[in-house]
């Protein structure tokens, strides 16, 4: 391996970034830079510098100047993670006339200065990392990015407010959108809400016009009652398999007149739209303003499907639109980009035994209350107890149910404070009841939110700072009989209180959708331990994912309110529109290639490839990699017993020499001896 006597063939520049004090605070950057210049000269290092911020324009110019003046053929930057600034330094090199793939960025921040405290050990590790980068960069090859065309259509999964916003942005810009929604109608959770904070405008009034626009848009193919089954391909060219559920209603003939659900004899508790507080029929649309207007027959509850007789809907349908023979339909669509906006599920409050939900009749969840308060809801907007008639005289609203709690979900659900304040207002306005809000902290950090909090205080809502310990019907003191007693420490007083109320509303938190992990797998993206999808960068790229061409918007990324969901929907759409307008996309040229002369035709690699990118030529008895299908994982490279497959960007030479470098086997031995 020793190349002591050989003259190095490349001229390499090494640049050590201080990143302010982020790196320089732990790693002695000047020492690393000097060490690299002294000890790696045998590898071809001709310049080694350290600089305050390599990613700044001055830092980049420094590299460019050296490339030109020192005739550098390779560049190694030791700074942050390549996932952050690899494109920056590649572009800088390209600007100075060097092939961008001849630049190597090694991480001495995320993998060194930020994770270690021992300054000497961290400096030594930085030297090894730089040595690894230098010995690797020698074997880099000039590459040309792969260009692939981008299909102009976009798939949007989830028809809540985030998905609706994204759909309209893209469709209005003139590009086709497939909007897939699992439920019979789009609208999502927002369609269930009564009022929206902090302005208290009616949720349906601001949502339904957008739903109608989606339903009528010439560029939108609306696929409700449908689910994505499979996603193949890659950015620009995804092939998506969608299962369209059988509605048992011919949408071409149906006018949405509503006679079918009027005549249907089968009443079902509606645990979705009405949150279990109301009923629907076996043939139904979730709510009157549903888009599309066509109903579905719920075959699990339909008398005909279960018992073989009834068909009342069919008999009464004026347009003969009912079709009991419909089957689920499988369709495939081609799209260039995907947005996931599948939203959230409500935390199941039954999991908190001390709050008694499911055991104590007058403990309600937030979604139940939304329906209770909604004038289109099961009580016509009357806020009443579970008996359906009694108006409560006192109501307790409990914050943080299932949130900020290591027993359940550790995160803050973000919307509950404002939602609870909204509930306090609605209860106060509609019933005049005494309202208590039980909170740990009030979090109102958005435009006009804290003002709303002030308003609720002014309206006379009583605030008790303390996480509710238990809700019970076991009366202990006079005045508690027949009431729900909220037992809590009023932490500002430092005393335990027992507050009897008629009704309790639990502000249950937001959870990732059940099955979010499976959906993540289908789309090839990652999921946090909680189940929320991981964005490309938590601050600077919140709507993209690690997978090119797949974006996320709304609560699928983490709990958020309506304005934030809308902003993300629009942001994801803007990102995609930018891509579509470029018409093609440059992909990392990391691909495997079979060297025909070395291939023995054993076909071991053929079955290794999950993308079926390797074909076997029966005539010549060799395998070949189709670069359009290859994703560059390199498994075949590792598997080939003959070493006949090479992988660009991650060749055996590159990695083996990086190992040498990391183990400091490449050092200038004479220098080392001199030091010793």
């Amino acid at each position: 391996m020793s190349s002591e006597d050989k003259k190095p063939k490349e001229r390499i520049g090494v640049y050590i970034c201080h990143c302010g004090s982020n790196i320089a605070g732990v790693v002695n950057v000047a020492d690393v830079s000097k060490w690299a210049g002294d000890n790696l000269a045998n590898q071809g290092v001709v310049v080694s510098r350290d600089y305050k911020f390599m990613c700044s324009s001055l830092g980049q110019e420094l590299i460019q100047k050296d490339i030109k003046e020192q005739k550098l053929t390779r560049v190694v930057v030791a700074a942050c993670s390549p996932h952050l600034h690899e494109p920056t330094f590649r572009t800088a090199c390209k600007g100075a006339g060097m092939n961008p793939y001849l630049c190597e960025l090694v991480s001495i921040r995320e993998q060194d200065s930020w994770v270690h405290t021992d300054k000497i050990a961290a400096t030594e590790k930085a030297k090894a990392i730089v040595a690894g980068g230098v010995s690797r960069v020698v074997h880099h090859e000039p590459l040309i990015p792969l260009k692939v065309p981008i299909h102009p259509a976009t798939l949007i999964v989830g028809g809540g407010i985030a998905g609706i916003q994204a759909t309209l942005e893209i469709a209005d810009a003139g590009f086709p959108v497939y909007l897939v929604e699992r439920e019979p109608s789009i609208g999502g959770h927002m369609a269930q809400f009564d009022k929206t904070f902090p302005t208290l405008d009616c949720s349906a009034c601001i949502l339904t016009p957008k739903m109608v626009l989606v339903g009528n848009h010439p560029n939108v193919t609306l696929l409700t009652y449908s689910e994505v089954q499979k996603v193949d391909g890659y950015v620009g060219n995804f092939t998506v398999t969608i299962r369209k559920g059988a509605r048992y209603v011919k949408t071409a003939d149906c006018t949405g007149c509503g006679i079918c659900w009027e005549k249907c004899p089968k009443k079902v508790i509606d645990d979705k739209f009405e949150a279990g507080l109301g009923y629907r029929k076996a043939v139904y649309t979730p709510f009157p303003q549903a888009v599309p207007k066509y109903p579905v027959i719920d075959d699990i509850n339909c008398t005909y499907f279960q018992k073989g007789t009834c068909k009342a809907c069919e008999k009464f349908c004026p347009t003969n639109a009912i079709d009991f023979t419909q089957k689920d339909e499988i369709m495939t669509v081609e799209v260039g980009n995907i947005i996931l906006a599948t939203g959230w599920d409500l935390f199941d409050a039954r999991r908190v035994p001390n709050y008694g939900y499911g055991r104590l009749a007058n403990v309600f969840t937030n979604m139940e209350f939304e329906r209770l308060s909604n004038s289109a809801g099961p009580t016509g907007g009357n806020i009443v107890l579970r008996d359906g008639k009694t108006t409560p005289k006192s109501v307790g609203i409990v914050h943080c149910v299932g949130s900020r709690d290591k027993n359940y979900n550790n995160y803050c659900s973000a919307i509950c404070c404002m939602q609870s304040l909204k509930f306090a207002h609605l209860v106060h306005e509609k019933t005049g009841a005494t309202v208590y809000n039980f909170y740990i902290d009030i979090r109102t950090p958005a435009k006009a939110y804290d003002e709303f909090y002030q308003r609720i205080i002014e309206e006379g809502t009583l605030f008790v700072r303390g996480k509710v310990a238990e809700i019970t019907d076991a009366a202990r003191n006079p005045g508690e009989e027949g009431k729900l007693i909220i037992q809590v420490e009023d932490t500002l007083v430092g005393k335990q209180r027992r507050i009897p109320v008629d009704m309790v509303i639990l502000s249950s938190g937001l959870e990732p959708r059940a099955g979010s992990k499976e959906v993540a797998k289908t789309f090839g993206i990652s999921c946090s331990a909680d189940g929320w999808y991981i964005e490309r960068h938590p601050k600077l790229d919140p709507v993209a994912t690690m997978t090119e061409g797949v974006y996320i918007a709304g609560c699928v990324q983490g709990p958020k309110d309506i304005p934030a969901s809308v902003a993300q929907g629009a942001a994801a759409a803007a990102r995609i529109l930018g891509k579509i307008q470029q018409k093609e996309i440059a992909l990392e040229p990391i691909r495997a290639t079979v060297i025909e002369e070395k291939c023995s035709g054993c076909r071991i690699c053929n079955t290794m490839c999950p993308f079926s990118a390797i074909l076997f030529h029966e005539d010549t008895m060799v395998s070949e990699v189709n670069p359009a299908l290859c994703q560059g994982c390199g498994t075949c490279v590792a598997a080939c017993p003959a070493g006949a497959i090479t992988g660009t960007g991650f060749s055996n030479e590159q990695i083996l020499s990086q190992i040498d470098g990391l183990l400091l086997l490449t050092l200038d031995k004479k220098k080392e001896a001199a030091v010793a």
Binding site: N354, R359, D473, R476
Partner: protein, 336 residues
């Protein structure tokens, strides 16, 4: 036949003999063999932990070490007392989780020639074993006299479902295991809201005002629900609610009368055992009337006794003790 190591705990030999006899009777019916750990010692209840942590855990761990020594292929210790159960599982849990702590306790044990490998023994309460190992099917098979018509308040108390290091119970606040068992016996089970509330613990000895209030909450709630009896599964809970019910009534000027029975006493009845052999009659608040309602004759409470000559707490003349020993003799005969 299933076999377990058995840690009875001190109360089973003194204040909770009714529990002891009924446990033995029920286990016999269910083909459960209990091998009492030889030379076990007191678990220290909640008292030693209050004084000195290390000796407290060493005291508990001595039992675990003995159990491991005598295991003979078994790995489960059954404790019928909730406090003993919790202490044993707590010691095992922390010795396992906190390795340095485990080492420290073993250093102490070594002074007595003992050693315990954390995680080796599994500690379970009798209720858990009955429900999850013996199984409800077998319990149902044994029932010859269902408790039809008896309204019971299932009372679990604190230390069984909490902190529940090994997540053995359905819930830490409203577990349903005891309800299911009692329902299987044919009793009418109320949805007792305070089923895991505190009985007062040692407060009866150090802060009676607090203890009486805690006892009142439980008794009055059971009374609100018109329970005939309250069913306990811990000697301490039974003692507090039964023996102090009278004093509590005096303190609050109330007149509650809720008999407190062990779950094994009711199981024994349903299995057809004679009430005398299950420790009936040893309760302060007599269950006679409640049991008569479902056609079971339990021994009548003893006739009023002459006033004692000495205040409580000091040793009593042996003659008094003999009167109570009848039960023991009766049981011995029955087991022959």
């Amino acid at each position: 036949m299933s076999e377990y190591l058995f840690y009875p705990g001190c109360s089973m030999e003194s204040s909770a003999k009714a529990y002891y006899h009924s446990v033995m009777s029920v286990c016999k019916s269910l083909d459960v063999k209990l091998n009492e750990i030889d030379d076990w010692n007191c678990c220290g209840a909640t008292e030693y932990l209050s004084l000195d942590i290390t000796p407290a855990y060493a005291l508990i761990a001595r039992n675990l070490a003995l159990a491991e020594q005598q295991a003979n292929g078994l790995n489960t210790i059954v404790a019928p007392c909730s406090a003993c159960y919790l202490n044993l599982s707590k010691a095992d849990h922390y010795m396992h989780e906190d390795k340095a702590f485990g080492k420290k306790i073993n250093t102490a044990l070594a002074a007595g020639g003992l050693h315990y490998d954390p995680g080796q023994m599994v500690v379970r309460h009798l209720l858990d074993v009955v429900i999850n190992e013996v199984g409800m099917d077998k319990v149902k098979e044994r029932i010859v006299k269902p408790l039809t018509g008896l309204r019971v308040a299932p009372y679990i108390g604190c230390m069984l479902p909490r902190p529940d290091y090994n997540k053995r119970y359905s819930d830490s606040e409203h577990p349903y295991e005891l309800d299911d068992l009692l329902r299987a016996l044919g009793a009418e089970v109320i949805d007792f809201p305070l089923k895991t509330a505190c009985c007062g613990g040692h407060m009866t000895q150090i802060g009676p005002d607090t203890a009486f209030e805690l006892i009142r909450r439980l008794i009055s709630s059971a009374d609100d629900y018109k329970a005939d009896v309250l069913v306990a599964l811990c000697p301490m809970c039974q003692m507090n609610l039964d023996a102090f019910q009278g004093q509590m009534n005096g303190y609050f000027h109330t007149n509650y009368h809720i008999p407190i029975l062990f779950f094994t006493q009711l199981m024994g009845l349903a299995f057809g055992e004679k009430p005398e052999n299950l420790g009936f009659g040893s309760e302060f608040v007599s269950a006679h009337e409640a049991m008569q309602r479902i056609g079971v004759q339990t021994p009548l409470p003893d006739a009023a006794k002459p006033a004692p000559k000495k205040p409580a707490g000091l040793p009593m003349p042996p003659a008094r003790a003999r009167a109570g020993q009848k039960i023991t003799i009766g049981n011995e005969e029955a087991s022959k």
